[in-house]
């Protein structure tokens, strides 16, 4: 891999995230109510934030793709969806791990978890559609439209699911309100959110570059074969 400023920044980011995790696990004090297990929120909450932020990233790349029909937008969209899928999975897994000691169950139909789950399915559906279409203008359009549909639907899904839970269940045990959190925990959480979101963007960028290189090798080979 060539060393460039961007790569350097990326590595710096990874180091920063590792440092933040070290802080979360060993340095910060345990929570009064939840004890040590609460530390997983430094991974869970940022991952959740990043996966929802990437849904809007997908909206951006999709709109860009439909407006310009640029092939590059295709790779960017695919990369966003892949990293988004990864982060939704991360959110679901960490949510379950956190849920077991806190709620006593691995899974509960919490509004946020449910929405994340649906988002994961939608990312997977996007990737399925992407891979089952032949490359070209048609794929840019089809996946672009789906990207917009997903991004527009996510807020509606979130609204309806939240409402559905509040009607059927007493308010969730989990209270993530800033007021109940110690200030040092809150500030650390915010830094973690920013850091992991930047990491997700870095990963998207690397992955898109990767996809582009893959495609170029394919075309070049075909050209050499004279196909």
């Amino acid at each position: 891999m060539n060393f460039s400023i961007w790569n350097g920044l990326g590595r710096l980011l990874l180091v920063a995230v590792l440092y933040l995790w070290y802080q979360s696990i060993f340095v910060l004090p345990p929570d009064i109510h939840q004890g040590e297990v609460y530390r997983i929120i430094y991974l869970h909450v940022p991952a959740a934030f990043a996966s929802f932020a990437l849904a809007f990233g997908l909206l951006g790349t999709s709109l860009y793709g439909l407006a310009t029909k640029s092939p590059g937008s295709e790779f960017a969209s695919k990369a966003v969806a892949e990293i988004g899928f990864l982060f939704t999975l991360l959110t679901l897994v960490t949510g379950s791990i956190w849920g077991k000691p806190t709620w006593g169950v691995w899974w509960t139909w919490d509004a946020r978890l449910t929405t994340t789950f649906i988002l994961a399915v939608l990312y997977a559906g996007y990737l399925l559609l992407w891979s089952s279409l032949p490359p070209g203008l048609g794929r840019i359009k089809s996946t672009g439209i789906l990207g917009i549909l997903i991004a527009v639907d996510v807020p509606i899904i979130y609204k309806s699911v939240t409402w559905w839970r509040t009607l059927h269940q007493p308010p969730s045990m989990m209270r993530e309100g800033g007021s109940t959190m110690a200030p040092e925990i809150l500030s650390h959480l915010i830094v973690s959110i920013v850091a992991l979101t930047l990491v997700s963007l870095y990963l998207v960028w690397r992955r898109a570059d990767n996809l582009k290189t893959e495609w170029m090798i394919e075309v070049k080979t075909l050209n050499q074969l004279g196909a």
């Binding site: 310009t68 029909k69 640029s70 092939p71 590059g72 937008s73 790779f75 490359p135 070209g136 203008l137 960028w205 898109a208 570059d209 582009k212 170029m216 394919e218 075309v219 070049k220 075909l222 050209n223 004279g226 196909a227």
Partner: protein, 260 residues
């Protein structure tokens, strides 16, 4: 009054330019569709006398996203009243070329321009396209239903007697064939005749026929010849892709060979 419509394609779609390896270079592709024509003209379609239609193609290039360029720098200029034969061996992009003219595929580079002295032109509007492998027929409906659909989609007034007349000309007369039998029961040749009858009914100025002779018998071939002759006489332009033009070759006024 002359209305001219130019479509200039500069879409370097999937540009095969490997020297620029920067990530952002692929984002800076230009995709402009320059349209000099005004799009708000009132439509006056299907006059009985067709005006002189001119199609001009300049520097047209196209290649599918993976693989070599199929069409490189194609130039073509033709007038109304011409019958142009497009030929070339297999895989030279004849069908692709005619699809680009019909507006189904967007070329990467080049200019397509239609000029017409009757102010009814819109890009692709005056073209009637016949695909090589498809007839555009719904096989669950009858011949009459299919033939009523396509011309009226272009805003033409299609009366039943007119449709019957055209069907008669193509040897598809008889109540049973016209409105009792679904297309699924038709033979290959009969379907082709029906598709050609559709082209005939449309009264478009430019006909783009991809392998029109496919499946036709001698009677059908002579009907096709008459049909193109008629169109030529009215000042229409016909582009024919055909490997074995046979009798049709007497009509050709111009030949384009795609060498690839």
């Amino acid at each position: 009054m002359t209305l001219k419509i130019d479509l200039t394609f500069q879409v370097r779609y999937y540009s095969i330019d490997f020297e620029q390896t920067g990530f952002l270079s692929i984002y800076t592709q230009i995709g402009t569709l320059v349209d000099h024509g005004k799009r708000s003209h009132s439509m006056r379609p299907h006059d009985n006398v067709l005006g002189g239609a001119v199609l001009e193609v300049t520097n047209l290039s196209f290649g599918y996203s993976l693989g070599r360029q199929i069409l490189v720098n194609i130039n073509l200029s033709c007038q109304g009243g011409e019958v142009v034969h497009i030929k070339g061996s297999n895989g030279r992009g004849k069908s692709t070329f005619i699809k680009i003219l019909a507006g189904l595929i967007r070329p990467q580079v080049g200019t397509l321009s239609w000029t017409d002295d009757q102010k009814v032109m819109m890009p692709f509007e005056t073209c009637e396209y016949l695909a090589a492998e498809h007839n555009g027929l719904n096989d669950e409906l009858t011949a009459m239903d299919n033939l009523r659909f396509w011309p009226s989609l272009k805003g033409a007034q299609v009366t039943d007697p007119l449709v019957l007349k055209v069907l008669e000309r193509w040897g598809l007369s008889g109540k049973l064939i016209q409105s009792n039998l679904t297309i699924a029961r038709f033979s290959t040749g009969m379907k082709r005749r029906l598709a050609l009858a559709r082209v005939c009914l449309s009264n478009s100025r430019i006909w783009l026929l991809d392998e029109p002779t496919y499946g036709l018998d001698t009677q059908g071939l002579s009907a096709l010849k008459d049909m193109i002759q008629d169109h030529k006489g009215k000042g229409g332009l016909t582009l024919v892709v055909s490997h074995e033009p046979g009798e049709l070759s007497k009509l050709f006024t111009n030949t384009v060979e795609l060498a690839g």
